[in-house]
Amino acid sequence: MNEGELVLVVDDEPAIVRALSAALKARKHRVAVATTGAEALAEVTTGSPAVVILDLGLPDIDGIEVCRRLRRWTDTPIIVLTAEGAESRKVEALDEGADDYVTSPSRPRSCSPGYVWRSGTAAHGTRRTRLPF
């Protein structure tokens, strides 16, 4: 993932948004924030982010449904944020086209903003291999 690329953070929890935004901005990414599924869908359309970091517990549309709707028309890499113990949700999200996941809060290392950034890089790689050019 290159500097200056836009990352869309979708989470209704201000603290998580702040932490991710700070970590991503420190790595020279631009950050857009959506706090609901509807905002996320609109933001992906208008902002064309390079990566979407998507919390599965959104107040309006379920995160997995957001994943499904995005996958109907875009290959933008999606990294989902899930609560600990929600293995089936992870699997479901990956089935719906998510590229990677981060669990919070039982494994602090994997939940750290830095980890998300590294995942983002990996996901970007996934996208490259998937595209025909």
Binding site: E13, A15, I16, R18, A22, P59, S104, R109, S112, G114
Partner: protein
């Protein structure tokens, strides 16, 4: 026409004989009426047909008179008896209806009792649901700040190459989240005190303007993207529990911050009213629907899509009422919501 006897006057008292037939028909029914009619005919013959005091009949006229008397007696007796029977059956039906009615009443009562029982069960279920919802939202609220804190700390520990500004922002976030958790824990402690009916204000003299200023200062970080205007004139001191009242103001401010758009203004004001001091917090959020104004203070009630645990306002209400005051929600003068509470100045 049947030719009548010449000596008609002596036969007229025979009409008295109709009375026992009517009585027999009313009391004894059809058979009694017929028997009495036959008896009356015999008595008529015995007393009113010459030769008197015998059952003999000598003239065809007398035979016709006896026959007519007997016929009339039978008809009257039967009609009266039939009417009596009809009346009796009507009475029986009425009794039956009454019994049915009583039974229906009993069924109705039973149904009402069952309905009340079902309502109680539903209420208990609702309380259970609310408790479940509270547990879920409280555990969510308790874990989220920790998740953020742990994520940031582990990120910093892993030696991420952050500049000073980012490092400061992340550390401020840790402090803010620790404070948020603190507020929630304070609310939970008060909630358990309220449930145990142990919420007793530790009264001392409190200056409202100082209390509001302190609380706003404490929540500075939470209110960072809102303008807070405080307009409080000189007010008499009130007797109250400083920590608890600060919690009320804190909960109202937190509520306002949650619902007010960014960069909007939150106004905190106070004024004296007769023997009380009224404090209000206005925001420029979506406001409070009139039907929600009362229910908003019920425990565990949270706004649409709200991420709060829904206990802050309920705790505010309990604390204000423990101080002998009142709390209410309404539309703010410039749109948005106004939450106001009043506390007595003399207690």
């Amino acid at each position: 026409m049947v030719p009548l006897r010449g000596d008609i006057t002596s036969a007229s008292p025979a009409l008295l004989l109709v009375i026992p037939i009517v009585l027999a028909g009313l009391v004894g029914g059809r058979l009694a009426a017929v028997v009495t009619a036959v008896g009356a005919a015999l008595a008529f013959n015995f007393a009113f047909i010459p030769p008197y005091w015998t059952f003999e009949i000598h003239t065809p006229d007398d035979i016709v008179a006896l026959a007519v008397f007997g016929f009339v007696a039978l008809v009257v007796g039967t009609l009266v008896a039939r009417e009596g029977e009809r009346r009796q059956s009507a009475e029986e039906r009425a009794t039956e209806l009454q019994a049915l009615n009583d039974e229906l009443g009993a069924v109705q009562l039973e149904r009402q009792r069952l309905a009340e029982e079902a309502m109680r069960a539903a209420m208990l279920e609702r309380v259970d649901e609310q408790r479940g919802a509270l547990l879920r939202s409280v555990s969510h609220d308790l874990r989220t700040p920790l998740a953020a804190i742990r994520a940031v700390v582990s990120d910093l520990l892993s030696g991420a190459p952050y500049d000073d500004a980012t490092r400061a922002e992340l550390l401020t976030l840790v402090g803010d989240e620790a404070e948020r958790r603190d507020r929630l824990v304070a609310n939970l402690l008060n909630l358990s005190r309220i449930e145990a009916r142990a919420l007793r204000p530790d009264r001392q003299e409190v200056a409202i303007d100082e209390l509001v200023a302190d609380t706003v200062k404490r929540l500075e970080r939470l209110l960072v993207r809102r303008r807070v205007q405080i307009e409080i004139p000189d007010l008499p001191l009130i007797q109250g529990d400083y920590t608890q009242l600060s919690q009320v103001v804190s909960n109202l401010l937190e509520n306002a911050a949650r619902h007010a758009p960014q960069h909007s203004t939150i106004r905190v004001g106070a004024q004296q009213r007769d023997h009380s001091v009224e404090v209000w917090v206005d925001d420029e959020g979506i406001g409070v629907a009139p039907f929600e104004a009362q229910r908003i203070f019920e425990p565990f009630r949270r706004g649409e899509g709200s991420s709060s645990s829904g206990i802050g306002l309920a705790i505010g209400k309990a604390i204000v009422e423990a101080h002998g005051g009142r709390i209410a929600a309404e539309g703010a003068p410039g749109g948005g919501a106004r939450f106001r509470f009043s506390l007595p100045t003399t207690t």
